[in-house]
Symmetry: C3
C-alpha cells in the first residue's frame, strides 16, 4: 500500500463537500449522481450570476468542457477565478482537447488563466496537451502512446499541478512522483461519461481533503474498484452504469484499500 487511502474516503463522507460543476449537458446527471454516491454534494450551475456566489463557498470546482459554448466558457473562467481567490481547488477535465481548434483554445486558456489544481483527460487528450499530435477521435482517445507516463509527469512538472491520464491504466503525477493505477473495468469504455463521472468523484475528494496527490489517487481507486464490483453484477452497459452508482455508494473504505492496485513507477 502506498499510503492510507481510507482516510480520504472517510473525509468525503464526513464533510460531504459541495462540488460546483460547470459541465456538459450530456453526462451532467450521471455526474451529479456519482458525486452523491461518492459522498459529495453536487451543484450544477453555469449562469454567470450564480457562479460567484457558488464557487466561493464550494469545497471544489469541477470544470468540464464536454459541451462548450461561449457563455459557459466565460462562466468557467469566472468560476475558476473565484475559486482560486478563495482557496477552492479546481479540477479541469479537458474533454475533447485535440478534437477541435476551439477546444484547444479553451483548454489552453483555462490551464493558463485558472491554473487548475488537477488537470485530467484521457490518454489522447493528455498527449495532445503535452504537445504530442494525434490520438483523439471526437471525444474518445485512440492514443497508444507508450510514454504516456512520461507525458503525465512532464505536464505535472510544467504546470505544478496534479495531472491524470485515464485509460486501461491510469497515470497520475504531481510533478515529483508518478503512479500507475490498474483498477477498473472494460465496461467503463462502453458508457458515455465515465471520465466525466470520475472528475466529479475527484471533485468530492479534493473538496474534502485538498488537492493532495493521494486524495486524487483515492478518488480514482474508489471509482475504479466500484467499477470492478459493478462489472460482476451487470449484463451490459445499461446495467453497468446503474451498478456503478450502487457499488460506489456501498463501497467500504477498507475494501477499497484492500483491492487497490497502485504502483509507483
Amino acid at each position: 500500500m502506498v499510503t492510507d487511502l481510507s482516510k480520504f474516503m472517510d473525509a468525503v463522507h464526513e464533510k460531504s463537500p459541495l462540488v460546483h460543476h460547470i459541465t456538459n449537458y450530456v453526462t451532467v446527471n450521471d455526474c451529479a449522481n456519482i458525486c452523491i454516491c461518492s459522498g459529495g454534494s453536487p451543484i450544477m450551475t453555469d449562469e454567470m450570476k450564480d457562479v460567484v456566489d457558488i464557487s466561493r463557498i464550494a469545497g471544489a470546482v469541477v470544470l468540464n468542457m464536454g459541451t462548450l459554448n461561449e457563455r459557459t466558457v466565460e462562466s468557467m473562467q469566472m468560476a475558476g477565478s473565484v475559486a482560486k481567490k478563495n482557496g477552492v481547488p479546481v479540477v479541469f477535465d479537458a474533454v475533447g482537447a485535440g478534437a477541435t481548434s476551439y477546444r484547444n483554445l479553451v483548454a489552453d486558456r483555462i490551464i493558463m488563466d485558472v491554473k487548475p489544481e488537477v488537470l485530467k483527460g484521457n490518454a489522447g487528450e493528455i498527449s495532445f496537451l503535452a504537445g504530442v499530435a494525434g490520438g483523439v477521435k471526437g471525444v474518445d482517445s485512440t492514443s497508444t502512446a507508450e510514454n504516456i507516463g512520461d507525458l503525465v509527469l512532464g505536464l505535472a512538472k510544467k504546470y505544478g499541478c496534479v495531472v491524470v491520464a485515464t485509460g486501461k491504466k491510469d497515470y497520475i503525477s504531481d510533478g515529483k512522483d508518478l503512479y500507475v493505477l490498474s483498477n477498473g473495468s472494460d465496461y467503463q469504455g462502453t458508457v458515455s461519461g465515465t471520465g466525466c463521472m470520475l472528475s466529479s468523484v475527484i471533485g468530492a475528494y479534493v473538496g474534502a481533503s485538498g488537492a493532495d496527490l493521494f486524495a486524487v489517487i483515492a478518488a480514482i481507486t474508489a471509482f475504479n474498484v466500484a467499477a470492478e464490483h459493478a462489472e460482476l453484477e451487470c449484463k451490459g452497459p445499461g446495467s453497468f452504469k446503474v451498478s456503478l452508482l450502487d457499488c460506489l455508494y456501498n463501497l467500504k473504505s477498507s475494501d477499497m484499500e484492500k483491492e487497490a492496485k497502485i504502483k509507483k513507477v
Copy 2:
C-alpha cells in the same frame, strides 16, 4: 383517509395531460420519464418562440429553476404569463432559493409576476422564501426548522396558493388547512433530482384535475409510496431510481390509498 385520492390518479391516467416543463438540464430526463410513469405527457422546451404555442395548450406548466440562465428565465416568465391567461395551472419549484442572490431575485420575480398555483421547495428553500435565514447548502436543504409547518401555512395564506415543503416529512397547505405527509424513502436523498421529479408528477396531477390541494397531496403520495416500493427492490441509489420509475408506473390507485400516510395538523 382524508379524501378519495384514487380519483386524482385515475384522472391522470385517463386524461394524460400535456405537462410543459421549463426545467434544468441536470434532471430533465428523469422529469420527463417520471411524468410519463405518473400518467402524464411531458414536453420540454425553453425556447421563447416555442413557449407561447405550448404553454397555451398544456394541461399544466412546470417551472423549475435548477439551472437558470437569462434566456430561460425570460421563457419562464412568458410561459407563466401565457399559462395564466389560458387558465393553465403553474407549478413553481424554487430550486436553490436562498443559495444565490440571482436565484432569490428570480424566485421573487416568478412568485410575484406569475403567481403560481403551486409553490414547492425543500424545507430550506421554503424557509428562505418565508423569510427565515439559513438552511440552504447549494441546492440541498439543511433546514431543521421545527416550525416548517407554520411557514408553509403562512406562505400559502400570503400568496393564495398551494405550498409544499419537502423533506423526511412533507408539509402542504392551501392557506386554510395544513397536512403532513409521511410516506417516502431515505433513498430519495441519494438521487439528484427527486424533488424535480416530484414537481413533474405534481404537474401531471394538477394538469388533470386543477390545482386542488388534494390533487397535489395525491401526487406526492403516489410518488412517495412508489419510493417505498422501490426501496424494497433496490441495492443502492442507481437501482433505486430505476425502480422508482417502474414502481410509479405500476402503482395501483387502490394501493396508493391504502398505504397513504396523511395527517391533518
Copy 3:
C-alpha cells in the same frame, strides 16, 4: 428475408463511425449511450466553433430538434452544410414538427437547406410534414393515419431521401420501395426519447454504410429487436430503458436477422 441485414450491423462494429449529434438536452445522454451500444462513437456538440471541425470528420451527422433554440438551429444548419460538402450523411429527426409554428419553420428550413439523407419522425410528425393536419400532441404522435405508408412514400419521392415514420409499425421508403417493419415493444412508448435514440442508431448505421435504405432498415430492426428482448427482462419503463441498452449491446447480427419482421408493401 428482404436482404442481408447482418452486414450492416457488422460494418458498424467494424468501423465504429463517429456520429456527430446536435440534439436536445432531454434525451442526449440516452442517445450517446445507445449509439455506443449499437457500435458507434458519439460526439455531442452544438457550439458553432466546434461544429465545422467535427461535422467534417464525422461518419454521420444527426440533427434532432427536440429542444431548439436559435443558437443551436444555426449550428444545425452549419453542421448540415459542412456534412453535405464532405459527403457525410445527415439524419434529421423532426421532433415536434406540427406542434409549434417555430418548429414547423425550422423543420422546413433544415429539409430545404440541408437536404438530409434520412428524414425521420413519428407518424404524427411525418403526417404533418406531408401536409396532413392534426395528429400531434406536444412531441407525441396521436396520428392514426390509415395511409401513413403512402405519405412516407410520397415524402421520400418528393425529397429524394429515405423517410421513416415510427409507430407501432414503422414505415420506411426511399421513394421507390416501401417497407413496413413490425418489431418493437409497447414499452418504447413509455420511455422519453426512444425515437431520439433510434435516430442515433440510424446515425451509426449510415455512418458505417452510407444512407442506404437497408442500412436504415437494419438500424431500426436492431433497435426494435433489442426492445423486444428488453421487454422480456424488465419490470417497467425504468428497467426497460436499462435493458434496452444492454440488449442492443449484446445483440448478435444473426439473431437480428432471424427475428426481423420486414415486409415490402
